[in-house]
Symmetry: C2
Amino acid sequence: MMKLHGYWRSSTSYRVRIALNLKGLEYEYVACNLLEAEHRGADYLALNRQGLVPTLELDDGTHLTQSLAIIEYLDECHPQPALLPPDPVDRARVRTVAHAVALEIHPVNNLRILKYLAGPLEHPPEAVGEWFRHWVGETFEPLEAELSNSSASAAFCHGDRPTLADICLVPQVANGARFNVDMTPYPSIRRIYDNCLALEAFAKASPQVQPDAP
Amino acid sequence: MMKLHGYWRSSTSYRVRIALNLKGLEYEYVACNLLEAEHRGADYLALNRQGLVPTLELDDGTHLTQSLAIIEYLDECHPQPALLPPDPVDRARVRTVAHAVALEIHPVNNLRILKYLAGPLEHPPEAVGEWFRHWVGETFEPLEAELSNSSASAAFCHGDRPTLADICLVPQVANGARFNVDMTPYPSIRRIYDNCLALEAFAKASPQVQPDAP
């Protein structure tokens, strides 16, 4: 059985859990405690040189890292249900929404960046919170316009089935709640979030129901 | 003919130029001057709601945004020469290297982040430079180990042909030179960079030879 090395509150681990659940793939969950720096220990670095979660360990012992690369792999090897639509322009749209979240928000707001702002750069918690909310707003504002105005969006970011775009969006919204992101200006994002969480694949992947959640 | 809206010194524009050149696809280059905030003007925002470069305008007027989504699109519609290898585990490896650069380094070191550090957070240029080099090192160190130790790496990040991984790596190395990143500890990255720049597709995509370079 595949093993997913992750952390309950990590957005990137959450993405891979959703994808595995949507595909109906069973996996063993192996918790890696970021607060105790287990991701910087020799055992974990042997699995993942970057020392980041998640890592997906395949049946043959191959280790895959980087959440989006893992999800594209899962979609290639287990094509149904598809996480990307068949048409290339539609696929580009789904990846664009996914990447807007995964490349413009998450990398600048993850734990190690916030620690660097609070540590070496000595910013107080309020400034760190403002940083977080600033970068969410920079992307959520145009994303909300796209999801509200494009006829390609429906119950989910693209059409009536969840895709890679929803897989990236949902953990980002959940993460934002921890930093008091005001979601009032984003009704389409909220609606899609609610539609996703109504699905078992998303609900079962939620941070608070993971074995390592406190 | 396709139109590429980009900026000479933008790493993400550079990535798409390399991909178009490797595929042998002709395109019209439309410069968007980031220093004069053209990417925040109404004309450009009509093309790209996020106000980021690059945007690829297809023959039928469709606009694609987000560099990696554009490159995956190009690889799907123009399969030869392939930018990803055929085997799913190999594809995951190439995407992992590409994403290590595109998700862990570039997003935290791009112009808008550095401006926020220098502006609202009032850090002097030395602290901004240290920030830049810190995040390059966090990823280049494990990446160098991967590229040196894995038998999958050869003349390029993956085998003897350039892939999506090299397309992301080369602009990052070029960008690092502007911030005095010491490349001594990364001989494999330097070797691959040199091998790429020896190819016309990479050389023609270089920032300094673009029409909008000073």
